[in-house]
């Protein structure tokens, strides 16, 4: 099949970018979207042109590195990662628009590659548990109800790809944050830090410049891992509990761009 691509090209973070048009001929419909871009990049390299920069790693839908806005939709027409999207989802002769995730806290590094370290700082602000080192405890030493384990696992499948932000009309990362709050907050190991976690992560989320959630739901519709919408209500519940019972000891956001976590007193 033959397709025409309109691709965002931007030399670096400070350069002004623009959409560039490329024809890609004789590709197999069994290729993944990224393999199709590989074919185009080989050709560009042979011609002596700059290949299109895009992120990928596992190419099997589990690492969360890949992520493109295809025809205005994060990860394109299928609810999966870009690496798991195949050309059979398109038709011969299609014009396909390819853009990077767009959000102020995700600056473009080059072409389709964005810097998602804002997510790392949100995780550092509370997306962990503290566990003593030493011999690992028996896996079944602390019983977890099946229902909680299942729901925690559903939330834990988040691969931090950032599609929720790219799709959100408010540029909010609430689904990403809520997935981690839900994952850890449903399990016994996550209880000691449950309330400081939600306050710290939400404060960091806001400090990074993500927008506020208004429950439109575009995030869950594009999430390759189908993180459930109800994680956001769970985050809100924990946040309301924390703020109504809280105190001055709640963590504060680290300044944007710094990676240390505040000391808790």
């Amino acid at each position: 099949m033959n397709v025409t691509l309109r691709v965002w090209r931007q030399a670096n973070g400070r350069a002004k970018g623009k959409m560039a048009i490329y024809r890609v001929n004789d590709i197999s419909e069994d290729m993944s979207f990224l393999e199709m871009l590989d074919v185009l990049n080989e050709r560009l390299t042979l011609q002596g042109d700059d290949p299109i920069a895009f992120d990928s790693d596992c190419r099997e839908g589990i690492c969360g590195m890949c992520g493109l806005v295809i025809n205005g939709v994060a990860h394109g027409p299928q609810q999966t990662t870009t690496c798991q999207l195949h050309m059979r989802s398109f038709s011969d002769g299609d014009v396909i628009d390819v853009e990077p995730w767009r959000a102020d806290p995700f600056p473009v590094i080059k072409d389709l590659v964005v810097d998602r370290s804002a997510f790392d700082r949100i995780i550092q602000a509370g997306g962990y548990i503290s566990a003593p080192t030493g011999t690992a405890p028996d896996a079944h030493a602390t019983p977890v109800p099946k229902r909680d384990a299942d729901r925690a696992f559903d939330a834990a499948t988040c691969i931090s790809c950032g599609a929720c932000v790219a799709a959100c009309p408010n540029g909010s990362a609430m689904l990403f944050t809520a997935a981690k709050i839900t994952h850890l907050g449903l399990l016994p190991q996550g209880q000691p830090e449950r309330y400081s976690r939600v306050v710290g992560m939400v404060a960091q989320h806001d400090a990074e410049g993500f927008g506020g959630c208004t429950n439109i739901g575009e995030c869950t519709a594009v999430c390759p891992k189908a993180i459930p919408f109800e994680t956001i209500s769970r985050l809100n519940r924990d946040l309301i509990s924390a703020l109504t019972h809280g105190g001055s000891h709640w963590p504060r956001a680290a300044p944007k761009g710094e990676t240390e976590v505040d000391e808790e007193d």
């Binding site: 309109r6 965002w8 959409m19 806005v69 025809n71 205005g72 939709v73 628009d97 853009e99 767009r102 959000a103 102020d104 806290p105 799709a167 009309p169 408010n170 540029g171 909010s172 410049g209 993500f210 927008g211 506020g212 959630c213 208004t214 429950n215 439109i216 739901g217 575009e218 519709a221 594009v222 459930p228 919408f229 109800e230 956001i232 209500s233 769970r234 809100n236 519940r237 309301i240």
Partner: protein, 214 residues
């Protein structure tokens, strides 16, 4: 946003109930209006309860507008300005409701409407159809004019969309969306409240326009 929005929805439901008294006749309607002013007496002074409601409403509206402006400007910044994606192939989003597009500008329409509405029926500064001493006559005079009914209709449709997304969103923000079943129920509830408010508010103006109430 959620708390002030729900207070305003509560007010809308009460206000709509009061408006429907128009169908019980001039006496019942005027009696209701007078009763509102006497509410809480003798514990509270005359119009005391009404003023408490007004203060709560004003604080809610101001708080709601502040929160709306804050969300709006944060979203504008987070999206990186007005132009986000060059592709126009997904203008209507993946699953979002039409109502969710109308919140921000719809809110502005509602604000303009509320100002007009207060000038008309509360302060009686403008009186389409002729000035009158009693609330019932003001309402009936005003809604005999089709352009007044049209303006109210447009505003009530904006309110309907606003309440459709607002009810769902406020309850989700307060933590009620606990499962996919809860999500479905909240959406049904939001449509029901929005439909009730829109139809309930529009019944009196249309009844008057078509001469069922005079």
């Amino acid at each position: 946003m959620a708390v002030t929005g729900l207070i305003l929805i509560g007010y809308l439901l009460a206000h709509m109930y009061g408006n429907l008294k128009i169908f019980a006749g001039a006496e019942a309607f005027n009696e209701y209006a007078h009763h509102l002013r006497a509410l809480g007496e003798p514990l509270l002074p005359h119009t005391g309860a009404l003023w408490i409601i007004r203060v709560v409403l004003l604080i809610s509206v101001l708080g709601h507008m502040y929160a709306a402006f804050n969300l709006w400007s944060r979203a504008h910044k987070a999206r990186g300005g007005t132009r986000r994606y060059y592709s126009h192939k997904s203008r209507t989003g993946v699953q979002r409701t039409y109502a969710s597009f109308t919140l921000r500008w719809g809110g502005v329409v509602i604000l303009l409407f509320v100002i007009y509405h207060l000038l008309h029926l509360t302060w009686n500064i403008i009186h389409p159809g002729g000035a009158a001493a009693e609330p019932y006559d003001r309402v009936v005079n005003g809604f005999q004019i089709w352009s007044v009914v049209l303006a109210y209709t447009i505003a009530m449709i904006a309110v309907g969309f606003h309440v459709r997304h607002g009810t769902w969103s406020a309850l989700t923000t307060l933590g009620a969306n606990t499962s996919s079943l809860a999500r479905r129920r909240l959406n049904v509830l939001a449509y029901a409240v929005a439909g009730l408010v829109t139809v309930g508010f529009l019944l009196p103006p249309f009844a008057i326009l078509f001469g069922f109430v005079s």
